[in-house]
């Protein structure tokens, strides 16, 4: 379980301090997918930076299974909003970076080959990030996070740069992978539809500084033909209402 209690994060701007998160508290159960939805600038990326150990300057307490956050001992798969690819590594090297750091070598196994193939980037292995489209870069970032078989998956709007068809394929792929090993996932999104499709729990955040408005159990999760059902429609309306009131 991830326990976040009274988490506050301040950025030091040039003149004033910017409060990005204000007494943010939530418990995230092991092996569940949480989709976080909230207005732009409410501190979603900031939250992921804290959870992934990038940002250490915060007040309040954050723990993963009772332990303080420590990327050296925990296996955290992170997909950054700006992808976080290293420009001097080609697609293959970028994909295997997590595996390399965690396991000490960047040899691909069947699993990473499966990931590369399903993300349709296995024909781009020798290209450098600057030679890729935004959506391709995003898929490399996704591949990197999946390939290292994380215990905790943090995804910051991972499908935002993809076209509608590819996005739905990726959502499907993500759910398939998730069903195999139910890794605890924090999934940030702007889209109500995506929050409903992928989240077992949906967390709605207030405008800046971000606080939790509501945590909803999502009855729509894992329903077939979800987008044509009444549950989908009513949940969608309900979510939109909370988001716009916040």
């Amino acid at each position: 379980m991830i326990a976040i209690k009274d988490l506050s994060v301040k950025y030091r701007g040039k003149e004033e301090e910017i409060l990005a998160l204000d007494k943010f508290s939530i418990n995230i159960c092991k092996g569940d997918i949480y989709t976080f939805i909230g207005p732009s600038g409410c501190g979603k990326s900031t939250l992921l930076h804290v959870l992934s150990g990038i940002m250490k300057d915060y007040s309040g307490s954050v723990s993963i299974d009772g332990q303080a956050i420590n990327p050296k001992t925990q296996r955290i798969g992170l997909i950054l909003q700006n992808y976080g690819l290293l420009p001097w590594k080609n697609v293959y090297q970028n994909t295997m970076l997590g595996v390399k750091i965690k396991n000490g070598n960047e040899l691909s196994d069947d699993y990473s080959k499966y990931i590369l193939k399903n993300l349709a980037i296995d024909n781009l292995l020798d290209r450098y990030p600057k030679e890729l489209s935004g959506g391709q870069q995003q898929r490399v970032a996704i591949a990197r996070a999946f390939a290292m078989k994380p215990d905790l998956l943090l995804m910051d709007e991972p499908f935002s740069a993809l076209d509608a068809i590819t996005r739905e394929e990726m959502q499907e792929l993500f759910l398939n992978i998730w069903k195999h090993n139910s890794v605890t996932t924090v999934f940030i999104t702007h889209s109500v539809d995506e929050a409903l499709y992928l989240g077992r729990k949906i967390v709605v955040l207030s405008a800046s500084p971000g606080r939790v408005l509501e945590v909803l159990d999502n009855p729509c999760f894992n329903l077939d033909n979800l987008r044509f059902r009444d549950e989908y429609y009513s949940m969608s309306m309900k979510l939109r209402k909370i988001v716009s009131k916040g």
């Binding site: 992934s52 150990g53 990038i54 950054l80 976080g84 001097w88 590594k89 750091i101 450098y128 600057k130």
Partner: protein, 249 residues
Amino acid sequence: MIKLLSKEKWQGTLYSFVIVIIFWQAAAMIVNLPIVPSPGFVFLNIMEIFSSKIQIHVLYSLLRIMEGIAISILIGVPLGFLMGYFNKVDRLLSPLIYFTYPVPKIALLPVVMLLFGLGEASKLIMIILIIVFQIIITSRDAVKAIPDETFRSLKSLGATKVQMFTEIIFPASLSEVLTATRLALGTAVSILFFTETFGTEYGMGYFIMDSWMRVNYLDMYAGIVVLSFMGFCIFTLIDIAENYFCSWR
């Protein structure tokens, strides 16, 4: 495949070479004195005496320059990286570097000679003194210019400090370091020439000055051409290395 030297670069080189030769030939014809022999004679002379007279001097000069560059990189790059990555190291060393950087190092030649004698050590130290500061400062600035975001993926993976250096800092700043080396090379060759005019009987500097003393202008020009060509070769070599290692740019 990575193209090491593009067609345009080769054509540019050839073009400049032709231009230089034309001007040289024109100057030789106008002046019409032994002090400016025509390029044709000089190149013929090079072919004649290269293996018997020049070769050994080229080897000595080449060795000195290569050693100088290698040692400067071995000292300068790690130091610059540490200064760029750890603010404490930077605060400690920056004032020293800033204070000594603008001192014309050639002015230190007498001191270096007094301390290290007239031999190889002085020559090497002079070259290093000239190049190393540029490499330190460039490496430091290159590391400082890496945006914080670049480190995020590795931080979230729990990478060690060593991995930060090998995966990010080194590849990110390699290109700048090579460029700085290339630029420092011009000065280094001049210094080399200067230091080879005393305390040795080997090196292109010695060969050129010696030919001059013996009023053998053809040999002297041969030396100048060979020394220039040597500089050009090292310059191109670094350029090729940069294109090869930094093809991701």
